[in-house]
């Protein structure tokens, strides 16, 4: 008889068999990295806003305090997006006829709110509360990044559960004195870990409860 297969078939067969075992593993690894990547987490993504509001200008250059506009941040879960009224407290005085601010004035006149696009976002089943984080010495820029440098707001962190856990497991790495929470230029002391540990005791932070599911999900 003649040979059924050409000599090359041997190598092909080996390759196929190896692929059978290696393929799935590779796929899983790829998926994992993909889902950690900004491609899936929307990290660093900016979104089209009705008004190109610049934190760089308001925070970085003018040095406005976060709480001036995000009024709920110390009281409520929702930090709060400023009402048109708040924008106009200043912009009825300055830049009163800037083209850029036309939508704001329109909204103020009509009483119809501005429709902003959410940038930093966690899923509905995550009950995140700004007020408690602020009250326990977690600075704004820990999660929101160097806002004072952002001409357009972008999502600074992946905001995945794994990312949340990192801090909930080791708060001492990130916690800071309450007074510095809104300080965009605060830098960690060299002995952050000791200081952090002290602050955790001082603020009565119950570290064991921090990684309970019920802390964020209900």
């Amino acid at each position: 008889m003649a040979q059924l297969f050409r000599p090359g078939a041997n190598s092909i067969a080996v390759i196929v068999i190896v692929a059978l075992f290696a393929g799935p593993a590779a796929a899983i690894a790829f998926a994992y990295f993909l889902w950690n990547s900004p491609y899936a987490t929307d990290q660093n993504l900016t979104r089209a806003q009705p008004v190109p509001f610049s934190h760089l200008h308001h925070v970085g250059e003018l040095g406005l305090d976060c709480r001036m506009c995000h009024t709920g941040v110390e009281k409520a879960a929702f930090a709060g997006i400023p009402s048109t009224h708040i924008c106009m407290t200043c912009h009825s005085q300055i830049w009163t006829n800037a083209q850029m601010l036309a939508p704001v004035r329109a909204s103020y006149a009509s009483g119809k709110p501005l429709h902003w696009q959410r940038v930093n976002r966690v899923p509905d089943y995550v009950f995140f509360d700004h007020s408690i984080h602020v009250a326990k010495g977690i600075g704004c820029n820990v999660c929101h990044g160097p806002v004072q440098k952002m001409a357009l707001m972008r999502q600074a962190e992946p905001l995945t559960m794994g990312w949340c856990l990192e801090c909930h497991r080791h708060p001492e790495k990130y916690i800071r004195p309450k007074d510095d929470v809104f300080d965009m230029y605060w830098h960690q002391p060299f002995d952050q870990l000791e200081v952090g540990a002290k602050l955790i005791r001082q603020y009565l932070i119950h570290t064991d409860h921090l990684t309970d599911c019920s802390t964020c999900h209900r």
Binding site: M1, A2, Q3, L4, F5, R6, P7, G8, A9, N10, A13, V14, I17, L165, T211, C213
Partner: protein, 170 residues
């Protein structure tokens, strides 16, 4: 290119006898092709075959067990300890079942791989397949494989009185 002499026999016993004789005559066969295992024939070849597949599977099993337990211990005790029915974080009795399975699983899979490796499979293209008679080797015949050599051929014809002789060329 390798060329062979295939010596055909009718029954396993004749094949075995032939192989013995050839070995004793100092011309041990290179290999035997048969449609069924012939007990003891592997000892009559040039060098006896003792594939260590058992060891391979045993080691793989041991590793599988270790991985199986470590996986649970690491995830439940180290990485994310979660209170579940107030069971101990390292609930070893419950954690024994998965390793049990991973042991068998890895032994089987690795065993299969070594089965292929030790058999030199896959080998879709093999010089012996040039011989038409190899078709029957997987169905109902018994072939001793020798290097193609005129003198050897005669010696075989005289001493092993086989059913038939086949030569394999490219």
């Amino acid at each position: 290119m390798s060329e062979y002499l295939l010596v055909e026999f009718d029954s396993p016993h004749e094949a075995l006898a032939g192989a013995r004789q050839a070995r004793d005559g100092g011309h041990a066969a290179q290999d035997v092709l048969s449609h069924m295992p012939i007990e003891g024939i592997s000892d009559c070849l040039g060098r006896p075959l003792k594939p260590p597949i058992g060891w391979a599977m045993f080691i793989a099993g041991a590793i599988g067990a270790a991985i199986g337990y470590f996986m649970q211990w690491y995830s439940a005790v180290i990485d994310y300890p979660i209170i579940s029915g107030n069971r101990p974080l390292d609930s070893w009795p419950a954690f024994l079942l998965v390793p049990y399975e991973t042991t068998i699983l890895s032994a089987a899979i690795f065993g299969f791989l070594s089965w292929m490796v030790m058999n030199g499979l896959p080998r879709l293209h093999h010089p012996l397949f040039y011989a038409a008679i190899t078709e029957r080797a997987v169905q109902d015949r018994y072939l001793l494989v020798f290097p193609r050599d005129a003198t050897l051929r005669e010696w075989i014809a005289d001493n092993l009185h086989p059913r038939q002789l086949h030569e394999v060329r490219e």
